[in-house]
Symmetry: C2
């Protein structure tokens, strides 16, 4: 009999969070109100406010680190010519400036927080790409590929230090509190990467372990992004904690969607190969949930992946072979469970918001960003 | 005619700082008073106060990072058995707890600062050893050799984050100020490593460039160590700045002595090979000063090193060949200039101390530590 990987039948869990059947659509009750929020404008606002300050911070780096960092951010190409790279979705800066408004402060109050969070995020990308041997990021060669491993280490270190510098030079008590919280998130990020690396060498990873790792790698920094502006605006500890809770679960929802896109995403939208995570043998949520589910499809998948791990021909697998694995994951319930998990985490995030006193307009915007994260296609 | 690499005749400089002829002995006038200071006990105090707190901080790291860090610090061997490794001279913790006493606070006030500085120092060692490809440190295989490059990156990152965590969880305004200063020093450390790497690819490095790099790599963190306890004890900005100045120039003196030991040190005392820095083609102070001095020996040295850089046989050079290069460096004045530079920096450090109001006993101890750094044999 099929059992839920977390010890609860997924159908019950589905019911508990509202029994929705289309997992990536937000709960209907509140979504109506949120349709008035222009998410694109919200993301654009975060980007517009944060980018000049981020650029000014990068300009402080000693050569050649400033150039290497500018390449990483997509502002120049490998030859040093100006470029207009894909800066990503910019969810974090949008959250950081929005969170300042929780306390009634201007969005600008959140800018140093937005910049610090982006610096920490990019520090981790630089180091993780090197550790994981990833050669491509945002459709371009990674820094270690272009500028060598030493520069990837060095510039990552510099961005990490710069993150604290940008906050602490504000010289306020609030900046000290914000840095302390960001430091805790940075440690979680590092823990998550350590877990990710150790899981690679293991045959089996439990759903709990996978969620813990994703909470560290994605949840912790979105928690920072969602609260740092408020902390800089003088929010009390409880408010900051609840905003962190919103961001943490938003991060888990984000990652669940990412894991779905990593297998079933449209290559044109994601910019990744088909079956991307399967090609990388990533033990993502759909995979670990399918393996933990039990039943014939789950067992067949387990045997297949065990054989793949020893196969010398894996690099030459055809589309059909990956499609077969994806079908088994779906048949074992891994896809459905992960979509449901995204909803569960989305619901917890929204509930955390409701526990914080803030202007309605700000709450709607937070909720709309959460909806965006769950319904996005890339 | 031989000219001083910094544009001043070294004999004049020697006279300016007291005209001493034995460069590694401190000025006689104050040394008498300092003989009452037990430097060994002072170093032991710093070590004894800081080590348990450092160990507790490392214990917070998630596995396997705690083990990797414990190996790096010499607390366990590569197999995980308890070890009693060489923890180094422990000058930094001694300075940090001593600096707390400047403000009249107990030495214990400086402990979180001592631990944070040690964490930053070891973060940089972990990353630098990997970037530089160094296989040995403190007579043992480096972390990347034993545990792989990913662990060296990851644990370095974790130590860096932990440094800020240890300070910021104090939750005081002083801790925020201390973290800000430490962050600035960390960035200098990273700048110094960037310079070190870029100099490797160049034929010539000026004395100024070498001093700037050494100020970043060694001076900045000794500046932090010398002031962080005082900052935690509530010292004003000027006091902190002057203590940083003491530490920065102490660091330059320290590095000048290190550069002398790297060529002429007794292998039994240093634990390094004979002519260690020459074997690594290090552009250290004696080398760059000799090359900049001009004159027949300087020119001959320049030709030899240029030929060495292209030589495929460099790895098999005999003792006599390195001895010949060391003799040329000495003949060109590089050894004498560096010894004089150590004295100059020592003098500036002592003068900075004199500009700070502090108990006589504390001042004597700072001065004694400065003397120790300059006269040490390892």
């Amino acid at each position: 009999m099929r059992t839920d990987p977390r010890g609860t039948d997924p159908r019950t869990l589905g019911t508990a969070t509202g029994g929705e059947t289309v997992p990536t659509v937000p709960p209907a009750a509140t979504a109506v109100r949120r349709t008035t929020v222009d998410v694109t404008a919200l993301l654009e606002r975060g980007r517009t406010l944060a980018t000049p300050v981020l650029r000014a911070a990068i300009d402080r780096l000693a050569p050649p680190m400033d150039t290497v960092a500018a390449y990483h951010f997509g502002w120049i190409d490998a030859q040093g010519n100006p470029a207009d790279g894909d800066g990503g979705k910019a969810v974090r800066p949008a959250l950081a400036v929005l969170s300042a408004e929780v306390t009634g402060a201007a969005p600008e109050t959140g800018i140093p927080g937005a910049v610090a969070v982006e610096l920490v995020h990019n520090f981790s990308l630089l180091h993780d790409d090197l550790m994981d041997g990833d050669e491509q990021r945002r459709h371009r060669d990674t820094v270690w590929k272009v500028h060598g491993p030493a520069q990837a280490i060095l510039v990552g270190d510099a961005l990490f230090a710069l993150a604290n510098e940008v906050l602490l030079e504000l010289g306020t008590v609030e900046a000290g509190r914000a840095t302390r919280r960001l430091t805790r998130a940075s440690r979680a990020l590092i823990d998550g990467q350590a877990q990710d690396i150790s899981y690679e060498h293991r045959d089996r990873v439990s759903v709990e372990e996978c969620l813990e790792m994703e909470g560290n790698k994605t949840g912790a920094l979105l928690a920072s992004a969602s609260s740092i502006g408020a902390v800089l605006g003088g929010a009390d500890e409880r408010t900051a904690d609840m905003l962190e809770k919103y961001g943490y679960h938003l991060g888990l929802a984000f990652q669940a969607v990412d894991d779905l896109l990593g297998i079933w995403g449209d290559p044109e939208a994601t910019g990744k190969q088909t079956w991307s995570d399967l090609r990388q043998r990533k033990k993502s949520l759909p995979v670990v949930a399918a393996l933990a589910a039990g039943g014939p499809a789950s067992e067949r998948l387990g045997e297949m992946l065990a054989a793949d791990a020893k196969s010398s021909d894996f690099e030459n697998f055809s589309e059909a072979e990956f499609a077969a694995r994806a079908a088994l994951i779906e048949e074992a319930g891994g896809r459905e469970w992960t979509a449901e998990e995204a909803r569960r985490q989305h619901t917890i995030a929204i509930e955390a918001l409701d526990a914080v006193d803030m202007p309605d307009q700000v709450r709607d915007r937070f909720a709309a960003l959460a909806d965006f994260v769950v319904v996005r296609k890339r």
